[in-house]
């Protein structure tokens, strides 16, 4: 009877263990679905500046000179917290958050503006371009 008790307890504990493991694996599988969905939500955009690419991975992106900014531009002409990029309904918007030199989109000074593909954002002396994410593997295939 003691052995039976031990056996069934061990089996039910093992079943719970395996179930938890399967749920963790399933969660990792769903992560890729979440990433795909994010690409749809964010219109699969990225910011580019002279060969540097900044991934836009969340709905609020702080741009500035400070080390805690999501996109750090270590340039004295850029304020510590210069501008904020936000996304809603698949459209990115840039907002000036009290910078000294202002935010320019395609050469026009703006306080807040919805962005389109290939818009050029000027923050101080730095110029960033919003463009569709380039997949290096796909690019290589195209070139071949």
């Amino acid at each position: 009877m003691e052995d039976m008790n031990l056996l069934f307890c061990a089996v039910s504990a093992a079943a719970l263990d395996i179930c938890a493991l399967v749920l963790i694996i399933a969660s990792y599988r769903e992560r890729s679905t979440g990433n795909k969905q994010w690409k749809k939500i964010s219109a699969d955009m990225e910011l580019v500046e002279q060969g540097f690419t900044y991934h836009l991975g969340c709905d609020e992106i702080l741009i500035g000179r400070h080390a805690s900014a999501d996109i750090r531009l270590p340039d004295i002409s850029v304020s510590r917290y210069h501008a904020m990029l936000t996304v809603a309904d698949g459209v990115w918007t840039i907002t000036d958050i009290g910078s000294k030199s202002g935010v320019y989109v395609n050469g026009n000074l703006v306080k807040s503006k919805k962005l389109c593909e290939n818009d050029v954002i000027t923050l101080g002396n730095r110029k960033l371009t919003l463009r569709k994410t380039v997949n290096p593997k796909k690019e290589r295939r195209k070139n071949k």
Binding site: C9, I18, A26, S27, T33, L62, A69, D89
Partner: protein, 433 residues
């Protein structure tokens, strides 16, 4: 409809298997007078599993893992609660579990669009105030329960998700600073501090001191994320000041605590095992009695001790199912809380919300388990999803729904209400000109 049908199917099967093996364990190893009791329990558990699988299909989500974990832990708790002292289906707990699942769906729907829920922050603050007034009016003097017939509600539990929502913030909100004298002030942070202080004082007044660490943990998580972002405001000086304030508050709290609280804080349970240390000493003996694999479902004696199904539920489970199973049960709850680490939220608001929920779940579990094991003073706080108690269950379910929302968010700006103008106003203006 479902993005990962295989993951969904496998999750369904393994959750069923986990519950199935528990029921088989009871069949061979449990204590029951009539097989009918076990059949009713099995039908209820497996029926709820299958029904929820079907219901989940109607909800569009990117991830379902938290739902499966929630179902797994809730039905496990139904089995545990039905087995204490002999198998007998616990209908009351089963109903509260269904209420928790429903609350989870509501939690998801309410918080999935962070733009919308952020705009409702004023109502969240008002909600906390209204709950305090309700407690003051309806619970009677210095109590925390409202009795309606055979049911009793603990309204202070509902303050937990509201405080989590009040603590959640976005970067945009944190950038809205106002210059007051020499300081850049975010008004929301000042209001939040006031609300938390009011809630903690209120809990003190209602003699529900056990809940104060949970509220404090939710606020601490929110506060930490507010001073960490932007990091410009984060310094060792700030941390030292915050730590000192907490320490002073704790010392003052202990000094002015009522006598019954002081007794619990400094009790030696073995020399006072028939008095203040009764529950803890019995709980420890039960854990030791159960060993790694337990005595068998329904074969424990701890069900004779008061609050065996809520305050010392960890010991009751350890005694009947074994310490190994009890630890794994806590791991499943920790997995629910840690799920945002696997699928990280895409918005800062949802991130801060998840941190608050994790803090609440972890602190509640730690208070209950370590309290039962005499590692910290006994507080009488419930383990989320496991302990008996409708208010706690519904609140925990709602907070689990908020975690689901962070993983299946909606990024849509709420539509602005159009101002009602007379249909021909422009024509009238033109004619007047």
């Amino acid at each position: 409809m479902i993005k990962n049908p295989f993951a969904y199917l496998f999750s369904c099967l393994f959750v069923l298997a986990a519950h199935g093996t528990m029921l088989i364990n009871i069949f061979y190893n449990g204590k029951y007078d009539d097989i009918k009791d076990l059949i009713i329990l099995a039908a209820a558990v497996l029926g709820l599993d299958i029904s929820y699988y079907i219901i989940m299909l109607f909800f569009k989500q990117y991830t379902y893992t938290i739902d499966f974990m929630l179902l797994l832990i809730l039905n496990m708790s139904v089995i545990f609660q039905s087995c204490f002292g002999g198998v007998s289906f616990s209908a009351k707990h089963y109903i509260t579990c269904i209420a928790a699942l429903t609350a989870c769906r509501f939690g998801h729907m309410l918080t999935c669009n962070h733009n919308w829920i952020q705009q409702q922050k004023k109502y969240v603050w008002i909600g906390i105030g209204v709950l305090m007034i309700i407690i003051l009016i309806f619970t009677g003097s210095r109590s925390m329960w409202i009795n309606i017939g055979s049911f009793s509600i603990q309204p202070s539990e509902f303050m937990k998700p509201l405080l989590v929502l009040a603590c959640a913030t976005s970067i945009t909100e944190q950038q809205k600073k106002h210059k007051v004298w020499k300081f850049d002030i975010v008004w929301e942070n000042i209001i939040l501090f006031g609300i938390t202080a009011a809630v903690c004082l209120f809990q003190w007044w209602c003699r529900d001191l056990g809940s104060i660490p949970t509220f404090a943990a939710i606020y601490a998580a929110g506060f930490f994320l507010r001073i960490c972002y932007p990091k410009a405001k984060f310094s060792n000086k700030t941390l030292i000041i915050a730590g000192s304030v907490v320490l002073v508050a704790a010392i003052v709290g202990i000094k002015i605590a009522p006598e019954y609280v002081k007794d619990r804080l400094f009790v030696d349970i073995w020399s006072d095992k028939d008095g203040n240390g009764y529950q803890q000493s019995q709980a420890l003996i039960a854990i030791a009695d159960g060993g790694w694999f337990g005595k068998g479902p329904g074969k424990g004696y701890l069900h004779n001790v008061f609050a065996h199904e809520s305050d010392i539920v960890f010991s009751s489970i350890s005694e009947e199912w074994g310490l190994l199973y009890a630890i794994m049960m806590t791991l499943v709850i920790l997995l629910i809380a840690a799920s945002p680490l696997i699928n990280p939220p895409r918005s800062y608001y949802h991130g801060t919300m998840c941190t608050g929920i994790c803090a609440a779940f972890t602190v509640q579990m730690a208070l209950n388990i370590f309290g039962s094991c005499n590692m910290i003073p006994f507080t009488g706080v419930t383990i989320p999803f496991i302990s008996m108690g409708g208010s706690s269950m519904v609140t925990s379910g709602f907070m689990a729904g908020m975690l689901v929302a962070a993983q299946s968010p909606v990024f849509r700006k709420p539509k602005k209400k159009k101002s009602k103008k007379p249909a021909n106003s422009s024509a009238r203006r033109r004619s007047a000109a």
